[in-house]
């Protein structure tokens, strides 16, 4: 039993009328022979009828019911990274709801990621239990985004007990000379204001730049830590900064760091 979604109902209708054998490509890229069809509101059920035995009378199913079954795990629609992040962390979900602005960036649209890997990266490595914070979900999302952009390779959390002492967000396998990755998520002036921040956007950005420099240095030489500060890459994800402020944040961050070495920005547009 599979459930798919139609892009071209007219074409399907004509194929059925012509009594042709119909193959449907599922969202997982598998081809299935269409044995029986029920078309309701743009959705399509196909597959052996025997597998449908536990379903309610198909002819009476509403479109909404059909969608519910789809979510119920027969053949789940892939969800994008943003949706998965929201499912993992209530805290993250609440924040995104509050952040009532246009889509933050196209990274949320991707469905080409491993949920298991995202889950591993989003878990707080220092927590005693399995916990997903807004911050750790943000870190995982940005790290995978950076990986997809080819900025970093093979992102991993630093395992226990080393993460207690080497308190950087991730270890990475390059590109040379980088072995460790740390993420920053600055916010725009409107959020700073809502947080009653004592700092202006420029001050907060400058402070973040100073903090980046400190983070690069302080774990060098520790077991499983970077050999030198040059091995630590900082990726600053500007996803929470509105378009008109991204350049300001970038410039003042670099001013605070006094150098652009080992600092990269994503979601800059």
């Amino acid at each position: 039993m599979y459930i798919g979604f139609l892009n071209d109902r007219k074409k399907l209708k004509s194929l059925i009328q012509e009594k042709k054998t119909i193959f449907v490509e599922t969202r997982k890229g598998q081809k299935r022979k269409l044995v029986s069809t029920i078309v309701l509101g743009g959705a399509l059920i196909f597959g052996p009828l025997k597998a449908c035995a536990n379903l309610p009378d198909s002819n009476k199913m509403s479109y909404e019911t059909l969608i519910d079954f789809n979510r119920g795990g027969f053949s789940p629609r892939p969800i994008n990274m943003e949706t998965f992040g929201r499912q993992l962390s209530q805290e993250y979900n609440d924040y995104q709801k509050d952040f009532n602005s246009p889509p933050l960036s196209n990274r949320f649209d991707t469905i080409k990621f491993s949920q298991q890997r995202f889950r591993e990266l989003a878990k707080d490595p220092n927590a005693r239990t399995e916990v997903y914070h807004k911050k750790t979900v943000d870190e995982a999302r940005s790290a995978l985004h950076a990986e997809m952009l080819g900025i970093v390779n093979e992102v991993k959390r630093i395992p226990q007990p080393y993460c207690k002492s080497v308190d950087l967000d991730f270890s990475i396998s390059g590109p040379t000379p980088f072995t460790h990755l740390d993420l920053k998520h600055p916010v725009g002036s409107s959020i700073l204001k809502k947080q009653n921040s004592p700092y202006t956007l420029k001050e907060a950005s400058r402070n973040m730049g100073k903090s980046v420099v400190n983070q690069k240095q302080r774990f060098c030489g520790l077991e499983k830590g970077p050999v030198s500060s040059k091995n630590v890459l900082h990726v600053v994800d500007l996803c929470y900064v509105p378009k008109n402020e991204k350049e300001i944040v970038k410039n003042f961050c670099l001013e605070g760091a006094s150098s652009s070495e080992g600092i990269l920005f994503i979601n800059t547009k």
């Binding site: 220092n126 914070h133 308190d167 809502k194 009653n196 921040s197 402070n207 100073k210 903090s211």
Partner: protein
């Protein structure tokens, strides 16, 4: 100024989990709240922002404030025990007559902060960066000279009461 806005005062309350405290979190931040005589325990508050908050006569026990950013906040007469503050950032914060016991402050940053009669016991103070930090000693403020070694300055001023190295390493 922000600090002159309407402030919320919470007295004699116990916060025993994140949910209790989350009620006051907006935009991932706690701000403009005076906590007086409050008790905080077993809370994991990773990465939150805390601005213009006052913690007075309060107790902290078995908490994680990792990667939190504290701005213009005051801790007065607080007993702080088993608190994980690794990679926390404090800017323009003041600590008055506080006692840190079995805490982890490693890799935290202090910018323009003051410690008045505040002591540390069995607390991890490694890899701290302290810029423009003042310590109260003999009725005068003494500025920390080596920003990479707050621990030494605290030791020199007898503000580290005891250091059980095994306890710190096992934190």
């Amino acid at each position: 100024m922000n600090e002159n806005k309407n402030r919320l005062i919470i007295s004699n309350q116990t916060f025993a989990n994140e949910i209790d405290l989350d009620k006051y979190v907006e935009w991932d931040a706690l701000s403009l709240i005076d906590f007086v005589g409050c008790r905080f325990k077993e809370i994991d508050f990773l990465g939150k922002t805390i601005n213009f908050c006052i913690f007075k006569n309060s107790e902290f026990n078995d908490l994680s404030f990792r990667k939190c950013q504290f701005g213009k906040s005051l801790f007065e007469n607080c007993q702080i025990t088993n608190l994980d503050l690794t990679r926390a950032e404090f800017s323009n914060c003041r600590f008055l007559k506080c006692r840190f016991t079995n805490c982890n402050l490693s890799a935290s940053d202090f910018w323009t902060c003051e410690f008045f009669e505040t002591t540390f016991s069995n607390t991890n103070l490694k890899s701290i960066i302290a810029e423009d930090v003042k310590l109260w000693k003999s009725n005068k403020w003494i500025k920390v000279q080596d920003k990479f070694n707050l621990e030494k300055s605290l030791k020199d001023m007898n503000l580290i009461i005891s250091t059980d190295q095994d306890d710190i390493d096992n934190f």
